[in-house]
């Protein structure tokens, strides 16, 4: 039996179709995922992301402990700011990619993918040994609502007194919406300007309804996980389980910039990642673009310019709703990774010609 979101009732009232996702029953779409996708690109979409996991790290050595646990530099994050980082195992394999908010000098909130909630909570607890910190899984204490799209700032401004001009991208601040105290963050996973709001589950409905009402005049639509996936794909953002796995390092996935060897502390995976950073890449993540309407999909083989054997595999793909042509990400040998290289994808026995293109596929203007 999967866990319903604190907002399950409102989704049912809106006629959502549900999907099981990492043990949660979440809305996959309300009416049309293409209309929801378009709404986020052109006006705004309202998402329930309450399945995401929130883990609190508190204590005088919180910054030191996170610098040890993560490959990135978390100690240099200023209070009120956030950072995207990666949690690796000792072999340098990616356990999760996550956003961490520094809420106070000695208090961080780590937001993990739902599917990795246990892995991350366990790893952080294990890695806290010897540090003066307390690691607490607070997932049950938070609902997460996102409003994403070019109109999202106007919508949030209409229901809160928060000074959004001073809230930069990857920053957060305490705010109040319709009397509900929450954490307002300017983050997202869609390639648009947007906000993520962390509040108590019991008050999630109130926040959702306030945003929904304020969004009416802007054409805001409730948006499900189906369009969240096509939005992040167009924005070239990795999805754990697809572009990222424990058998791939951040360097494989094009996230080598997140690994901060220059930080003073040791960190889990440092030795393996140092070796990997100096090795010649075997496979790299590339963007692929084709023509027509047939989509490359996760697991489909990528074939080289001369045909024949598979040289790689598609990790994510779709007919891009914004661009109108098929796009995908794939791991291919480095000699086939130059932009402009002509490859093909085996789409259930039919060859789809594709070209290697730079990521992201879509960048907001």
């Amino acid at each position: 039996m999967s866990t319903p979101s604190p907002l399950h009732e409102v989704h049912s009232e809106l006629g959502a179709s549900f999907t099981d996702f990492a043990g949660w029953s979440m809305p996959v779409r309300y009416s049309s995922e293409l209309a929801e996708h378009r709404a986020v690109r052109e006006s705004a979409g309202l998402f329930d992301l309450s399945h995401m996991a929130e883990i609190e790290v508190r204590g005088p050595q919180a910054a030191d402990m996170l610098d040890y646990a993560f490959v990135g530099n978390l100690a240099t994050v200023k209070v009120g700011r956030a950072r995207y980082s990666v949690l690796c195992n000792t072999a340098g394999g990616v356990l999760d990619d996550l956003v961490t908010y520094r809420l106070e000098e000695d208090l961080y909130l780590v937001v993990a993918n739902a599917a990795n909630a246990e892995v991350v909570a366990t790893a952080l607890t294990d890695r806290s040994a010897g540090f003066d910190v307390e690691v607490t899984n607070r997932s049950a204490d938070y609902a997460l609502i996102a409003v994403q799209g070019p109109a999202s700032a106007d919508i949030v401004r209409a229901v809160s007194d928060a000074d959004l001009d001073s809230l930069r991208y990857y920053a957060s601040m305490p705010a109040t919406i319709d009397g509900v105290d929450l954490l307002l963050a300017r983050t997202g996973y869609t390639g648009e300007d947007g906000f993520e709001l962390y509040c108590a589950p019991a008050q999630a409905r109130q926040v959702w309804d306030a945003l929904s009402a304020a969004g009416q005049e802007y054409g805001l639509l409730p948006a499900g996980l189906a369009c969240r996936d096509t939005l992040r794909l167009e924005a070239g953002m990795p999805l754990y389980g697809h572009e990222l796995t424990e058998y791939l390092t951040p360097f494989d996935a094009g996230l080598g910039r997140l690994v901060k060897f220059e930080k003073a502390s040791d960190f889990v995976g440092r030795d393996a990642l140092a070796a990997r950073s100096e090795a010649v890449a075997q496979r790299v993540l590339v963007g692929l673009a084709g023509s027509g309407r047939r989509a490359p999909r996760s697991g489909y083989p990528v074939v080289g310019p001369d045909g024949g054997e598979s040289i790689g595999e598609v990790t994510s793909g779709a007919l891009s709703p914004t661009l109108g042509y098929p796009i995908g990400m794939a791991y291919v040998p480095v000699e086939y990774s130059d932009v402009g290289t002509e490859l093909s994808v085996d789409v259930r026995g039919k060859s789809l010609p594709v070209e290697v293109v730079a990521l992201p596929f879509y960048r907001r203007s």
Partner: protein, 127 residues
Amino acid sequence: MSVPEELHYTEEHEWVDARDTGNVRIGITEYAQDQLGDVVFVDLPEVGKELSVGEVFGEVESTKSVSELFAPMAGQVAAINEAVSESPDLINDDPYGSGWLIEITPADASSTAGLLNAEAYTRLISD
């Protein structure tokens, strides 16, 4: 979920309409399009192609998934709906009408005999 009384159905969520012309028209049900989500691509066979019962005659793709289309009976493809190739969203908007897929000239006149009626299909999708 609409299941028109006058149509026949398959367990693969296709509907079959025996037309006065002797041909049968085939499409996917409202339930099927709802499960798929927005249809973005349809692959249909050439007119004249001979199909055996259960043979895959095409595909319907949504943003999230691909579904094969199965011939509910043996016969020859008599017509395809060019409009859905151009506008696959017709399948979402009007699955029993303008979102039809192909017409077949059945090899056997009693070809709809083994199919589900509306009542049986309604039971199938409510399980």
